[in-house]
Amino acid sequence: MGRKILLIEDDAETAGYITKGLGEQGHVVDHAGDGRDGLFLASDPGYDLVVLDRMLPGLDGLAIVRAMRAAGVPTPVLILSALASLDQRIEGLDGGSDDYLVKPFAFSELIARVNALLRRADGRGGDATETRLVVGPLEIDLLGRVVRREGRTIDLKPREYSLLEYLARNAGRVVTRTMLLEQVWDYHFDPGTNVIDVHVSRLRRKLDDGFEMPLLQTVRGAGYRLAAA
């Protein structure tokens, strides 16, 4: 399950901390300390993911993403940056990167996002015509937007359905609150309250009430996970 990840980061301490953390997750991390080496390595299609600091000495990390995309390298890119304003984040996403994480970040947030990107890379080109998602006893009909658990239909509001679909596509992996906010609501700001938690606990009540095994789990200090089995 180990994957090859390229980390382009000029700050040695941050780089060491990320390399160690991703290594503990079973990934192999190559590290480039400046933009030139980074750009050279990033054009190698052998990487499953590029994690990129936006502010490199003498170079905007976004330029590397643009160069990769221009050269037809499809490797997913996660930008790490201290440039934290909404517009800077949207600019990063518009610039061809797949995700944007603001420094300082919680490591659990980085892991969750890395895993989501790796999963998405797996699915790319594959089951685009997928019509059904199955997570353990849960069955989601993507065309009819109908959810069943052990044959019993679960009535969901549209937003609850989107929430469940995103969790189900990342089944077995931790999904953070900000990821949900960005992916399900398309809001890129932090509301700072537990607004997401309340939505999830509502969904959990509909999903798990009356069943023995809880499917929608809270992962302390990180986020939520829809049990894979």
């Binding site: 934290a84 304003s85 700001f189």
Partner: protein
């Protein structure tokens, strides 16, 4: 060429203009009144002198004297005198005391007195001298028209001189006045430049003339700069001040975590450290967002937005949270029109207002999200609660960055929510208003409508 000072150039220009316009006027009058009467007189007098001189040459002194006496009998404008070498008038009607001053000359004009006339008359004449010492003064007095014309021309010349004088005086006066007015403004700006931001440019006449308008503009600019400087100072002070408490909490938790032997307590303390660090990051992000909005960054991301849809989305997002807090969340959408806006920032601003309403107004049991037309070309996005509200006197403090009312000091938050909403409203060319909802607080974001023709 060295450039003259501006005031001197203004003076020179006004003098030149006065001179030119007077010259044009005088030239016009001269052109319309002048015919060459003087030229005709000159020719007649010259010919007459030639004839008389010929007579003297051919017939001598006495032949000429006879001819003169003869001619004077039936010619009233003729002025003539034959003078001998001792200055005695031999013949003619000229009565002149300064005959000794007369020298041979071509045509000239001057006042000559005749034997019959009561006063000297304006005349044109020629003086000839003959070998042997005789001198002939031969001329004619001006007729009335020529006299009038001469008077007019003289008056015009005087007028021209006067106008030049007046022009110079006016020019100097204008230059002095302009110089004084500009000087006063320059003095004020200089003092401001040296650091006295409270100094203002003088406004003299109720703001009606150009200098007053310039002063008023400078003053308005200075008011804005002073307000911004104040705000900046408050922000820096408050940022430094507001960072102290979370950093202090961080520090004490880390200290206790290092000191404790109890693993469970250490975990709990470290979790608190994380939370505190996250809150700090959030606060800094919001500060950045506020200053970017105030610097008008992000307008290039404006897109057409339906305010009703935005309000609907937020209501849907906050409905579960409200329910948990025991608050009924209502939506009131009236005839919405599209606006041009930044969806993310507007949503964040509105979410801050809803957060505030749920935090401070939950006791009222009801929070309403609404959108409605608000006067010509404006739309209102409002959040109202039925809680205790904010006293009107405290509204300004509530809107201020890091402004926190004593009543809410204990509640979480950095006091940036309303400041962000206000900055976002400004970014959109609108404003944030707080009002009494009787009971409760209503916060309205007023935004200009999209005035472009409907997109296809």
């Amino acid at each position: 060429m060295a450039r003259l000072p501006t005031t001197a150039r203004i003076a020179a220009l006004s003098i030149l203009l006065a001179l030119l316009s007077n010259l044009a006027l005088i030239g016009f009058i001269h052109f319309r009144t002048h015919d060459d009467a003087l030229g005709a007189l000159r020719q007649r007098v010259s010919e007459q002198a030639d004839v008389l001189a010929d007579l003297h040459a051919s017939g001598g002194r006495w032949a000429l004297a006879d001819a003169i006496n003869h001619a004077l009998r039936d010619d009233s404008t003729l002025i003539v005198a034959l003078v001998d070498g001792e200055g005695r008038v031999v013949a003619g009607n000229l009565v002149e005391t300064r005959l000794a001053d007369f020298h041979s000359s071509g045509f000239q004009t001057g006042e000559l007195r005749t034997r019959h006339g009561t006063r000297p008359k304006e005349s044109g004449f020629v003086v000839r001298t003959f070998p042997g010492g005789d001198m002939l003064v031969s001329g004619r007095s001006f007729d009335e028209r020529l006299t009038l014309q001469r008077t007019l021309e003289r008056s015009l010349f005087v007028a021209l001189a006067l106008s030049l004088l007046l022009g110079v005086a006016c020019g100097l006066l204008i230059a002095r006045y302009v110089g004084q007015r500009v000087g006063a403004i320059v003095d004020a700006v200089d003092e401001i430049g040296e650091g006295d931001l409270s100094r203002r440019a003088p406004v003299l006449g109720g703001g009606s003339d150009a200098f007053d308008r310039l002063s008023a503009r400078i003053n308005r600019m200075m008011d804005r700069i002073a307000a911004l400087m104040d705000e900046l100072r408050v922000i820096t002070d408050s940022l430094a001040h507001d960072l102290r408490s979370p950093v202090g909490r961080l520090r004490s938790r880390i200290e206790r975590a290092l000191a404790t032997e109890d693993d469970a307590l250490r975990d709990q303390l470290l979790a608190g450290v994380l939370e505190e660090a996250d809150a700090l990051t959030r606060m800094l992000t919001t500060v950045i967002e506020i200053s970017r909005s105030e610097a008008m960054a992000g307008r290039q991301r404006f897109a057409r937005i339906d305010p009703a849809a935005l309000v609907g989305e937020l209501a849907e997002m906050y409905e579960p949270l409200a329910e948990e807090a025991g608050v009924r969340l209502q939506v009131d959408v009236a005839s919405p029109q599209a606006i041009m806006g930044h969806r993310q920032l507007l949503a964040q601003a509105m979410s801050n207002l809803v957060d505030n309403a749920l935090l401070h107004g939950a006791s009222g049991g009801c929070v309403t999200l609404s959108t409605a037309p608000a006067g010509p070309g404006m739309v209102r996005l409002g959040v109202s609660d039925r809680g205790p509200g904010i006293a009107p006197a405290d509204h300004a403090e509530a809107l201020r960055r890091f402004g926190r009312l004593d009543s809410s000091r204990s509640a979480p938050g950095a006091g940036l929510g309303l400041a962000l909403a206000s900055a976002v409203a400004h970014l959109h060319g609108g404003r944030l208003e707080l009002d009494d909802a009787r009971p409760g607080l209503v916060a309205n974001i007023l935004l200009p409508l999209d005035t472009r023709p409907a997109a296809s």
